[in-house]
Symmetry: C2
Amino acid sequence: MYHSFRSTKEAHMPDFGTGSASPNLGKAESDVGIVGPVAGFAPQIGVLVSMMAFIRVQLLNCVKGMSVGDLDFLLDPNANTIGAVLLHLAATESYYQLNTFERMEWGSWPEAIRREWDVAMNLGEPARQTIRGNSLDYYLSTLDGVREKTLSEFQKRDDNWLAIVDRDWGWNNHAKWFHVAEHESNHNGQFKFLKTRIGKP
Amino acid sequence: MYHSFRSTKEAHMPDFGTGSASPNLGKAESDVGIVGPVAGFAPQIGVLVSMMAFIRVQLLNCVKGMSVGDLDFLLDPNANTIGAVLLHLAATESYYQLNTFERMEWGSWPEAIRREWDVAMNLGEPARQTIRGNSLDYYLSTLDGVREKTLSEFQKRDDNWLAIVDRDWGWNNHAKWFHVAEHESNHNGQFKFLKTRIGKP
């Protein structure tokens, strides 16, 4: 469908086509250009799921085929690697799961959870030193596992839940999950920038 | 509201607080942490408006206080300046206006429109050579003027319009406008990256 558009040179649209084995999108990858309700989810949650899918396929396309060296590339001593930021995306989504699904206050995570995710969440020097040497499959299966959990929890909830406001933040659950989506796009913009600097098209 | 959360060191949330004079958000800036319907717009269009506002305030906060030198900073000979990419965001939104509101085929823009936007749209060397020396106010008022038009056109439409599918693209209007929003987040990720490299906090 959208492939015909991609061939239009002047077109401005994201690259789709992940080439990866069935990512957890909550919907068919072939249908990812349709933002709207998705079967199996409450209407507004479905729209959000379709947006998250729209961004995820772009991310998958951007990193497709990257080697360990690509994923460990550091543009300068203060930069983060693409690999570490992929794990940062998984960490972010995991923490928003705890905050919104388990209603845990931000940062009040159990020690085991902190050990799993804090380095990726906080990036910087600890991440540069420890998150390296991993294959693309490792990062993508981590992201996919976290997304699977998100989608599974979304299926249990309705649109009233999405509208619940966290009075301390001034955000509702809709804003929190929209942020998870656009945060992925935010970092994908950095990936695209870095990608051209490691000689990738 | 969200300021209390921003003071939590470990929190992961975007910086809000644009400090700019009343940007066109379609809603109150103080309410930007609530994603949902917005008065004056059809329900789904309102949700989209609130998402676009959520991203716009982060962008405004990111570039707040930037000098002409900051906006013209080039990380390397192939990079784009923040100034040029701000204009690229305005160009993108303008072209999506023509494509979705005026139903013009992508790229079939009148010559006057091309002259106004093509350099910013396409970035690269022509943009590096010609988009420079402009103040932040210039870029922000351009973005704001384009957004004003978007919001004004949104007000005239309903959610059925949002669901209309462009068969050539395989995208509906909802996907197109969601892309305009997340595309801004995508480039804002690059701005954040560049900002730390010009010594900005």
